[in-house]
């Protein structure tokens, strides 16, 4: 599956390692939540980038102590109709201030790209090749948004407030 990161199709530097396989001495690895939580201190102290696959039915608040030492959090969309990871992403970014890579995995399709980006995902493990190539088109369809999220876009209410104040002076 092509990985789109910050808008570009990129090679994945992370290697997913199964729970029963020894971690390589170096290199970026992606491990399960269970493995991370079994021995978090030692794992985050490892000298290479560490990523975790976080299930969508587990509270992301559990990750709080390790956030600044995680290079990647991969959230899961088992089907794209299951939107739990959307809420997880926003809490990680906007409430807990996570700044590492936030990756969407699973059923990641073109028609959610805008939503995903708005919710703070910067990397998408895209299901279809054609969708990955359409990333730019798909995420530039909308020029205006009603809701504020942590994506830097000003919401309609915020924009209008600005205008309202400017026109009043």
């Amino acid at each position: 599956m092509p990985l789109v990161k910050n808008g570009q199709i990129t090679a994945d530097e992370f290697v997913a390692v199964a729970d029963d396989v020894e971690l390589p001495a170096e290199g970026a690895v992606l491990i399960s939540a269970a493995r991370l939580l079994a021995d978090p201190e030692r794992l985050v102290a490892r000298n290479s980038p560490l990523g975790v696959i976080w299930p969508n039915n587990r509270d992301v608040a559990e990750l709080k102590p390790w956030l600044d030492r995680l290079a990647l959090i991969a959230l899961v969309f088992p089907t794209y109709k299951d939107g739990r990871a959307h809420s997880q992403a926003r809490r990680l970014r906007e409430v807990y201030g996570y700044r590492g890579e936030l990756r969407a995995t699973g059923q990641v399709l073109r028609d959610q790209f805008t939503f995903l980006v708005r919710n703070g995902f910067d990397a998408l493990d895209v299901k279809k090749e054609t969708d990955a190539h359409a990333f730019g088109e798909a995420t530039h369809r909308y020029t205006e948004f009603y809701q504020p999220t942590g994506d830097g876009h000003r919401s309609a209410l915020q924009l209008r407030r600005q205008r309202h104040l400017t026109s009043a002076t």
Binding site: D59, Y80, K81, D82, G83, R84, H86, S87, Q88, R90, R91, E94, V95, L109, D111, Q112, T114, F115, L116, R118, N119, T130, R141, Y142, T143, E144, F145, Y146, Q147, P148, T149, S155, A156, L157, Q158, L159, R160, R161, H164, L165
Partner: protein, 551 residues
């Protein structure tokens, strides 16, 4: 009326283009039906028995005459010349081709109408009291807040893939015409002791297979906090709502399984994370929305003009006036309900010609504004009382002056087996038959206010649980049967109806309803004791006896 600005227009047009692209990818096979389905649902497109059904949003039920004309245009150009107004204050078209949908949406976008999120597992069209802004005694116009909510929930990136659909309703009156207690979130605009405006927030109401009446989760949330508070409720629901079983996926089940206290505690916790953040509204934001609601320039007019006095001699006019005309917050004006329930007609249907004509009448007599009520009727919200006789005469010609609003033949009915692929039984012909049986205005007036609600299956689109008399289609050995409940209501005293006994076959439904009504007439204490109140006092037994004693 809320006037769109460039931001609203951009979003609606961009949405149309996105959907056009989705349809073309579906038609080319690039999208599978499985992938397309949630996308089309979020744009109001269902695949029904005979064709695609197209559901268009009418936020808080408010329409301009230009918008109503455009709906007529869609009915005429892409459908079979009529539309069906629904209990969600929406309009549905039943015979539209997939390839025409992007064009229909583009036409509607010209007048600021869309079909965003009229279906699908997202936040749906926000409904409101159809008398909002004109009913006497409101805290303030709840549509300002409904519009803030509409905007906030439209294409919301986090809540477009919820466990299940999610519906808001809002009122600012003590008498609840918006049925807030049967919504996922019900909002009642209130003022606290300090004079601040805010909301009583109810959650967990809903009908369908497991009906629940909503409970108050917080008695006061200040207006500036309403978006962050609602965001917290939705976030808890998104995370913990059941996804393993669609019948248990609604927020009402989560609230019921956790208990309201535990659910409220979860919400408080989620709220603490985001309260006072970017979702907090300030006066400028609220004022900006408020300033774009344009209100009519009412004149100072007499409450009892000569025109009204002159028309009083006409018994047909008087019957209509007593039934369809309600007091307005401005003296000299009235709120007029247009019945879409002629004897023998399918409830809620309007032809393109009727829509055009109503738009013209709205221009002439109601400052160009129309409302859609959840009872599937239309409303002209600002009619000068001196114009009532002329308006009545025009409506009478159009077949829109049936004086039965709120009476026994003002029936709410879902499309049932005539259109709906989920139906177990017909709804429309039952409604038609009942409306013929109770067509006599004298009998109807004698009976007084009585709501009959009909659904063709357990999904309860016709709100049968909260009908004073509820009729639910079920299937037994391939035949249509109907369960009858009584004592339900959808207002501020909302209650679920109680079953009176075994389901009855199609052919007996109308007789049974007549029996129930006759029982009521003989059992009521006074002529002004409403049917529901009599049921409350007496319980279902005497009615049950009457119906089943002879069957």
């Amino acid at each position: 009326m809320y006037a769109y600005d460039d931001i609203d227009r951009a979003i609606v047009h961009e949405r149309v283009e996105e959907f056009r692209d989705q349809v073309s990818r579906r038609l080319s096979g690039e999208l599978t039906e499985d992938e397309f389905k949630p996308l089309r649902l979020m744009n109001g497109v269902y695949l029904q028995l005979h064709a695609y059904m197209f559901r268009v949003a009418i936020p808080y039920g408010t329409l301009s005459s230009a918008q109503l004309r455009k709906l007529a245009h869609v009915a005429r150009t892409y459908d079979r010349g009529y539309g069906h107004f629904t209990t969600r204050q929406n309009i549905q078209f039943n015979w539209i081709a997939l390839k025409d949908l992007p064009d229909a949406l583009a036409d509607l976008a010209e007048v600021g109408i869309h079909a965003m999120q009229t279906s699908g597992n997202c936040t749906r069209n926000v409904t409101a009291d159809q008398w909002a802004g004109v009913a006497p005694g409101e805290v303030e116009d709840p549509r300002v807040w409904a519009e803030i909510l509409r905007q906030h929930t439209a294409l919301h990136p986090e809540f477009s893939f919820l466990p299940r659909k999610f519906k808001f309703a809002i009122t600012a009156s003590d008498h609840d015409r918006a049925a807030i207690k049967i919504h996922d979130i019900g909002l009642k605009l209130v003022r606290n002791d300090a004079g601040e405006t805010g909301f009583e927030v109810l959650v967990g109401g809903g009908l369908g297979r497991s009906p629940f009446i909503g409970r108050t989760i917080k008695s006061f949330v200040a207006g500036r906090d309403i978006l962050s508070y609602i965001e917290a409720v939705l976030r808890v629901y998104n995370q913990y709502g059941r996804r393993d079983n669609i019948y248990k996926a609604r927020i009402k089940i989560l609230v019921h399984e956790l208990g309201i206290e535990k659910f409220a505690a979860e919400v408080e916790q989620a709220w603490a994370e985001i309260a006072d953040g970017p979702l907090t509204l300030d006066d400028e934001m609220i004022e900006d929305i408020r300033s774009r609601f344009i209100y009519p320039a009412y004149e100072k007019l007499p409450a009892e003009p000569d025109e009204l006095r002159a028309a009083a001699g006409d018994a047909r006019f008087e019957a209509w006036r007593n039934n369809s005309v309600a007091p307005h917050r401005h003296d000299g004006y009235a709120i007029v309900t247009l019945s879409l329930k002629p004897a023998g007609g399918p409830p809620g249907d309007a032809t393109a010609e009727q829509m055009d004509a109503v738009a013209d009448l709205a221009d002439k007599y109601s400052f160009g504004e129309i409302r859609v009520g959840h009872e599937q009727n239309l409303v002209l919200p600002h009619v000068a009382r001196r114009d009532l006789p002329a308006l009545w005469a025009a409506l009478d010609k159009l077949g829109l002056a049936t004086p039965n609003v709120g009476l026994v033949s003002d029936i709410i009915a879902c499309p049932g087996l005539d259109y709906c692929s989920l139906a177990n039984a017909r709804s429309i012909p039952i409604a038609q038959e009942l409306s013929r049986r109770f067509a006599s205005p004298e009998t109807a007036a004698l009976i007084g206010r009585l709501h009959i609600n009909i659904s063709g299956c357990i999904n309860a689109c016709g709100h049968h649980h909260v009908g004073h008399i509820g009729i639910l289609g079920v299937e037994k050995n391939g035949e249509e049967f109907y369960q009858i409940t009584i004592g339900g209501r959808a207002d501020e005293g909302a209650e679920l109806g109680e079953l009176i006994g075994p389901a009855v076959p199609y052919g007996e439904v109308a007789d049974v309803i007549e029996d129930i009504v006759e029982a009521y007439l003989s059992l009521r204490q006074r002529p002004d004791e409403l049917f529901v109140d009599a049921v409350k006092r007496l319980g279902v037994e005497p009615f049950k006896e009457r119906v089943y004693a002879t069957r």
